[in-house]
Symmetry: C2
Subunit: 230 residues, 2 copies
C-alpha cells in the first residue's frame, strides 16, 4: 500500500519534470524567435518564463527530497530520483540560456539591424531536439536514445565552431557591425550550452538506466522493485 503510493509519487515527480522540460524547450524557441523577428515582447515572455522555471525547479527538488524522506527507496528508485535532481538542474540552466539570448536581443536594439551570415534557427532547432530527445530517453528509460543525443552534440559544436569562425572574419572585415556579430556569436554560444545541458541530461539517463541494467542482471532480489511497485 505504502509502496503503491510511493510509486504514484514517483510518477508525479516524472510528470513535473516533463512540464519543466517543456517550459525549458519553449523558452529556447521563444528566445530564438525574439532574435529572428527582433521582438521585445517575446523577450518579456522569456524572462517571465525563466522565473516560472526557477520556481518549478525548487518545487521538483522539494518533491524529490520528500520522496527520499518518505521511506527507504530501493536502489533503482534512488538512481531515478537522483537522475531527476540532476536533470532538473540542467533544465533550469537551459532556462538561463534562453534568458541570456533574450538579454542579447535587448542589447541588439541599440544597433542597426545587420544580416548575419549564420543560421541561428538551425542551431536552435538542433539544440531543442537534443533536449527533447534526452527527455524522451528519460521517459522511456532508453540508453540508446540517450547515446544518440551525445552524437548530436558534435553537430551543434561544429555549427557553433563554424559560426565563431564566420563571425570573427566578419568582425575583421566589417568592424562597424562588430557589436551585431558579437551578439550573434554569443547567441550561438548560448545554444551550444543548451546542447551541453542536453548532453548532461542524456548522461544522467544512461547512469540511471545502467543502474537499472545492473539491477536486472543481478536477478530477482532487486528485479521486482520497479515493475511490481506499479
Amino acid at each position: 500500500m505504502v509502496r503503491i503510493r510511493f510509486q504514484q509519487n514517483l510518477d508525479d515527480l516524472k510528470e513535473k519534470l516533463l512540464v519543466m522540460a517543456g517550459m525549458a524547450e519553449q523558452a529556447i524557441q521563444r528566445a530564438v524567435e525574439a532574435y529572428r523577428v527582433r521582438d521585445l515582447s517575446i523577450c518579456d515572455l522569456v524572462d517571465r518564463g525563466e522565473m516560472a522555471i526557477n520556481r518549478l525547479e525548487r518545487e521538483i527538488d522539494q518533491m524529490a527530497l520528500d520522496l527520499l524522506a518518505m521511506e527507504q527507496p530501493m536502489a533503482i528508485d534512488l538512481r531515478f530520483i537522483l537522475a531527476v535532481i540532476k536533470i532538473n538542474a540542467d533544465l533550469e540552466r537551459v532556462g538561463d540560456s534562453a534568458r541570456a539570448i533574450s538579454d542579447r536581443v535587448r542589447e541588439l536594439q541599440a544597433f542597426p539591424e545587420a544580416e548575419m551570415p549564420i543560421d541561428i534557427p538551425r542551431t536552435a532547432n538542433l539544440a531543442s531536439a537534443m533536449v527533447r530527445k534526452a527527455l524522451q530517453a528519460f521517459i522511456e528509460g532508453d540508453a540508446e536514445v540517450a547515446e544518440s543525443v551525445l552524437s548530436m552534440d558534435d553537430s551543434v559544436d561544429k555549427l557553433n565552431g563554424a559560426a565563431h569562425y564566420t563571425l570573427l572574419n566578419l568582425m575583421k572585415k566589417e568592424p562597424a557591425v562588430a557589436p551585431q556579430a558579437l551578439n550573434a556569436l554569443m547567441i550561438s554560444r548560448a545554444l551550444e550550452r543548451v546542447a551541453d545541458h542536453a548532453t548532461n541530461i542524456a548522461e544522467d539517463v544512461i547512469f540511471w538506466v545502467r543502474g537499472a541494467d545492473v539491477r536486472h542482471h543481478m536477478g530477482a532480489a532487486a528485479g521486482n522493485s520497479k515493475a511490481d511497485g506499479k
Copy 2:
C-alpha cells in the same frame, strides 16, 4: 553503532567534495596562468586535471547514492547529501570552464601576441575566491558566508561587462586583433561562468542550512511533517 558509521561516511563524503573543490579551484588558477604566460604545458595540466575531476565527480555521486541507500537518513542528512550532489555537479563544470580557457589559450598560439586592455587575473582571482568562499560556507554550514558569495557575483558580472565593452570597442578600432580580443572576451565569459557556479553552490548551501534551521526551530515534529500529507 550504525548511526556512527553513517556519520563517518557523511564526513568522508564532505572530505571528498573538498578535494574536488580544491581541484576545481586549482584548474582555474592554472588555466589563467597558462593564459598569462602563454604556456601550453600548463594547458596539458589543466586538461589532465579535468579528466581527474570528471572521475571524482562520478565517485562522489556513487558515494552519495550508497549513503542514501544505506539506511533511512534523517531530513537534515538528506538535505546535506542533496547539497553535495548539486555542489559536485557545479564543481565539475568549474573544471569544464578551466578546460574552455585552456582551449582558448591553445587557439591563441595561432595569432601574434597582443596586449589586451582587461585584467583577466583579477576576474579570475575574484571568481576563485567565490568558489573558495562558497565551499567555506558549506564546511561551516554558514548561510551568511554563502550570502556574501551572492553579492560578490555582482562584481564579477561588472568586470565581465566592462571587459565585454572594452574588447568590443577594441575590435571595432583594431579589427586586426579581433581574434585575440574575442579570445580574451571568451576567457572573461568563462570566468563569469565560474562565478555563476560559485553562486549556485552558495544557493545550495543556503538551501541546506535553511533546512537545518527549519528543522531546528520546528523541533521533532518537522521530521514527521513531510512524511505525512502523502
